[in-house]
Amino acid sequence: MPLDTSSYALAHLRLDGRRWNELRRLHAQTSTQAAADGSSYLEMGNTKVICTVAGPAESRKGGGGGGNAEAKIEVEIGIAGFSGVERKRRGKGDKRTSEMRHTIASAFSANLFAHLYPHSTITVNLHVLSQDGSLLAACLNATTLALIDAGIPMSDYIVACTAGSTASYASNDEDADPLLDLNGLEEQELPFLTVGTLGAGEKVSVLIMETRMQMTRLEAMLAAGVDGCRQIRSILDGVVRAHGKAVLDSAIS
């Protein structure tokens, strides 16, 4: 059981020793690949994602597909066969994958200053090396970093994380804690949602929940998720600034 209810009630610790509002270790690097316009590597606990961005570049379809006043964002996701617990080759046409691609493309289309690059395409390539929960959130965060590294202007970071609930939907426990940043085991057993916010405010850009939940508990989960996003934003901002400082220092010296 990912959440042994007896021990959780005693010490309020999850299986990996975290409390309800603690994020996993978040490690991020930008400019990991010199060949790409923008790249990043992000780890949320054991979920590891590489992101590369190419663009803005001229649309492949030329004049036929053009006529857009804004840049078009295309997302490709490759989930490695060794990323999960069991080895499983996933084709590109997988339903879940295409849903994630649509979400990421749609979230950034509304956020990037795409009107600055008409008739072009920005291609985002995500590679998932290891999955342990919060996959969509990790992909969104990695894409934000890579787009910043590519120098594409945006209004604010899009940061995402997952939030879940301890009580199953059947028991109407009003004291059920919301959980922040679920790992793989917790995601399989508990109801959870993925929330992506625009910056540190309360504006929600992405919200996906696929499990059943009582309407009343939605508020607590959403609040925990939004707060987690705030924490993640400050971590990612620190990473970007540190990288910028390193670049400046090496340029000066």
Binding site: S98, H102, S205, M209
Partner: protein, 305 residues
């Protein structure tokens, strides 16, 4: 959704200007649905499981069919339930889907899948006949006949109504032999539906400050973001999906979810009423009413005092 004609600048500016004054082009309140009509057209009195839903001018037809197959090896005790929703040029002016499914079609199918199939509203274990050997495969085919916005809500309503209406063939198991009866031999058995989840779609305009429910085609083409909530009438949220689009206030979203409960109850009532009406129509000769009613013929007098 694929559509040949994108709205002209005049149309979209007029729509947005009207919305800023809290006015929709068809004079509806911002959170009102268009008139919903739900019927069960069927070719013969033995055919169940076909529903047609109209929300305004949007028209969707859902047909449920079943066959007996061998279950998946990793799910021996479950039946199979598939939803298929294909877009065709029938639904809009000059829609050309070609060979590849349009991304919006994938999203529509995914949302329907999540709301009804993955949420286990239809109990697939009840479709099992002989574990590991035979099970029912229920197939829902959605045909979009006319597209005037809000396909998802219409498809979900049609699907739930058709599933609640459908009767699968009855069967008997004698050891290893399974006898499946036709509709003439024995009446069909209704499917086991845990609950009826309905989708309510809301659209955002003006950087997320204006929210409307049940967008028609023009409003859909001009909107900046969309929120889909699938709920049952008991207030259980089955799925929430906001795939990007403009960023909206979190509290506002929660309020929208709460308001959607009333819409879901309305749709639930519509399905119940349509089912009851259909039963009365099929019950020619009044057999059901006479045999199954618990009423006596004597006149009940009100007790005095």
């Amino acid at each position: 959704m694929p559509h040949a004609t994108a709205p002209s600048t005049n149309e979209s500016t007029f729509l947005l200007a009207a919305l800023r004054e809290n006015v929709r082009l068809d004079s509806r309140p911002l959170d009102a649905y268009r008139p919903i009509s739900l019927t069960f057209p069927s070719s013969s009195p033995d055919t169940y499981g076909q529903s047609e839903v109209r929300i305004g001018k949007t028209r969707v037809l859902c047909v449920i069919s079943s066959e007996v197959i061998a279950p998946y090896p990793d799910r021996k005790f479950d039946g199979v339930f598939t939803i298929s929703c294909e877009m065709s040029p029938l639904m809009g002016a000059g829609v050309d889907t070609g060979g590849r499914p349009d991304p919006s079609e994938t999203i529509l199918t995914t949302l329907l899948d999540k709301s009804i199939r993955r949420s286990r509203s239809l109990d697939t274990e009840s479709l099992c006949i002989v574990a590991g050997q035979k099970c029912f495969s229920i197939r829902a085919d959605l045909h979009i006949l006319d597209h005037d916005g809000n396909l998802l809500d219409a498809c979900c309503l049609a699907l739930v109504a058709a599933l609640a209406h459908y009767r699968r063939p009855d069967y008997e198991v004698h050891g290893e032999d399974v006898k499946i009866f036709t509709a003439q031999e024995r009446d069909g058995v209704k499917l086991t539906l845990r609950d009826w989840p309905f989708c309510v779609s809301s659209s955002y305009f003006e950087a997320g400050t204006i929210t409307i429910t049940d967008a028609n085609l023009l409003e859909e083409q001009c909107r900046e973001g969309e929120l889909v909530v699938a709920m049952t009438k008991h207030g259980e949220v089955v799925q929430v999906a906001k795939y990007g689009g403009v960023a909206v206030d979190a509290l506002g979203m929660l309020q929208v979810v709460e308001q959607n409960l009333a819409k879901v109850k309305m749709m639930d009532g519509a399905v119940k009423e349509a089912l009851a009406r259909d039963e009365r129509e099929r019950d020619k000769g009044g057999v059901m009413k006479a045999e199954l009613s618990a009423e006596n013929e004597r006149v009940m007098e009100r007790p005095v005092g």
